[in-house]
């Protein structure tokens, strides 16, 4: 047996690990992410002369089942045409059974990184976009099952993209799965599982959420599935109501809070009224002088 230098071992390791895209339209540039089943690379699409992201089945899991799962993931995502869901361009298979799919390359940061230097109003707007994308998927019969801040990208121009649909199911009896901390205690695999994860995600956006927003997060991440929003759309609607400053279904405001909400909502009208009253008082006092 011949001796191999450390450099030779390093080169052979790269050769064995890197997907072999020779003979395809893609040239791999660098690894940009790694999940349970696949590795994501930044690549160049030579035919269209544009950068793409390519998810390739991990060397360690090239079983027929995993390959089929990866193909299905590509098909599921490709079927979800939504501005907040990354578009899939191509799917194929490399020598050795490594299935891959090419998608739009998203340049940006994950939600957890984004949350570190953005205020709550901005984060709530991002969260609403996420809820809308998930609601769209639910309407198409697809459950993501692995929603977490690390699987949401905020693009360079503020676009929001829900990523990594590797555990997504279209309701055909998938096993329970996901990321600990974001999985519902009732081990649900339907839309309420995503609602739960969204609730946990919302909680993670701020150390101290406003009372109404915290109530929305708590309802979404309720222990019992029956206490949660039934769909991501209902959750999106409540968040939308929060943003608009109207009553939310998850929280019963008292009179003072209702008055405060009304004032918040009608700030311009209140300002005009106050200005009018002040002006009248001044005129009144001037006449009485």
């Amino acid at each position: 047996m011949s001796w191999l230098s450390d450099d030779a071992v390093g080169r052979l390791r790269d050769i064995a690990e890197w997907p072999d895209f020779s003979g395809t339209r893609y040239t791999i540039r660098r690894e940009i992410g790694r999940g349970g089943m696949g590795v994501v690379y930044e690549a160049e699409d030579g035919a269209l002369d544009r950068p793409v992201a390519i998810k390739v089945l991990d060397n360690a899991v090239t079983t027929p089942r995993a390959a089929e799962r990866m193909r299905r993931e590509a098909q599921i995502v490709a079927g979800l045409e939504h501005p907040a869901i990354v578009p899939v361009h191509d799917v194929g298979e490399l020598a050795g059974g490594r299935v891959f799919y090419a998608m739009k390359l998203v340049r940006g940061v994950t939600l957890d990184a984004f949350a570190r230097d953005h205020g709550l109003p901005e984060l709530v707007r991002v969260f609403l976009r996420i809820c809308e994308a998930v609601a769209f998927a639910h309407a198409a019969g697809v459950v993501h099952r692995d929603l977490k801040p690390q699987n949401v990208m905020i693009g360079e121009f503020g676009s929001v993209l829900v990523m990594d649909w590797g555990l997504a199911t279209s309701g055909d009896g998938e096993a329970f799965g996901g990321t600990p901390g974001f999985m519902p205690p009732d081990r649900a695999v339907d839309a309420t599982a995503d609602v739960y994860a969204l609730g946990v995600m919302l909680r993670s956006l701020g150390a101290k959420l406003p009372r109404r927003l915290a109530a929305i997060a708590n309802k979404a991440a309720a222990h019992e599935a029956s206490d949660r929003y039934a769909t991501a759309q209902q959750l999106a609607d409540d968040v939308s109501r929060y943003v608009d400053g109207v009553s939310v279904s998850a929280y019963r405001e008292n009179v003072a809070e209702k008055a405060l909400l009304w004032l918040e909502r009608n700030r311009a009208l209140v300002a005009v009224l106050i200005a009018y009253i002040v002006m009248r008082v001044i005129v009144f006092l001037w006449i009485r002088r």
């Binding site: 047996m1 001796w3 191999l4 071992v9 052979l12 090239t62 390959a67 050795g96 059974g97």
Partner: protein
């Protein structure tokens, strides 16, 4: 070597070691091929055993493993095969050392090149490695080297010697350009690209098959692939 679409990892090492004589011999041969050098070198790396004693202990370990069929007691639920064989070896060394019994050398069917292993010891960069890390690194080197040997055998059997020569020059020696290789073999650079891609493809399949041969389950196979190729591999 199997070059099917998916690596044939599912033929368990346990089944092979407890199977018929030829399957057992093949499996045992692979175990020796992948593990004798990491075990011997890591024993020497610790610096407590002379070269001669380390040779005796390594030889006697494999002879005992073959005769007593201790490898078949491997339980994949408890540890990986790699961990198991290392633990068996450590135990063997401790027992033999304690009894000071010197076993006859050369009892195994496979000739092990201890002189080469000694030369490698002096070449290996070992700074900042502990014995555990050293073993892991040498195990990886051993697996890659075995895969290269199998690639050479495949190339000889299929008249692909030029592919193997290009693979050796470019990927193992790492000191040539496509242009110089093309000139050396009297072929175009495009042909160099194609030959290299074909050899690499074959190398990948061989490597994964090799790991499949010494693991007992899909889970262990995946863990071993990650240990060998993952980002945190030494």
């Amino acid at each position: 070597m199997n070059s099917a679409r998916f690596p044939t990892t599912r033929s368990s090492i346990i089944d092979a070691l407890s199977g018929d004589a030829s399957a057992r011999e093949r499996a045992f041969g692979t175990v020796i091929e992948l593990y004798w050098k990491p075990l011997y070198k890591s024993l020497r790396f610790k610096g407590t055993v002379s070269a001669e004693d380390a040779e005796d202990l390594t030889q006697s370990f494999f002879v005992a493993a073959l005769e007593k069929t201790t490898l078949t007691s491997f339980d994949p639920a408890k540890a990986s095969f790699r961990t198991f064989i290392r633990m068996l070896f450590d135990r063997h060394v401790a027992n033999e050392w304690k009894s000071r019994t010197r076993l006859k050398r050369g009892g195994g069917a496979t000739a092990l090149d201890f002189d080469a292993a000694e030369q490698e010891l002096s070449r290996d960069a070992t700074a900042s490695l502990d014995p555990e890390q050293y073993f892991e690194r040498e195990w990886a080197r051993s697996v890659f080297a075995a895969a290269v040997d199998r690639l050479r055998a495949w190339a000889d059997a299929h008249q692909k010697q030029t592919q193997f020569a290009i693979f050796t020059t470019y990927d193992i020696d790492g000191d040539a350009s496509y242009k110089s290789i093309a000139a050396q073999h009297g072929i175009t650079e495009a042909t160099v690209t194609n030959y290299l891609a074909a050899a690499r493809r074959q190398f990948r399949a061989i490597l994964l098959d090799l790991l499949g041969e010494v693991t007992a389950s899909d889970r262990e196979y995946r863990a071993e692939v990650r240990a060998l190729l993952g980002k945190d591999a030494l």
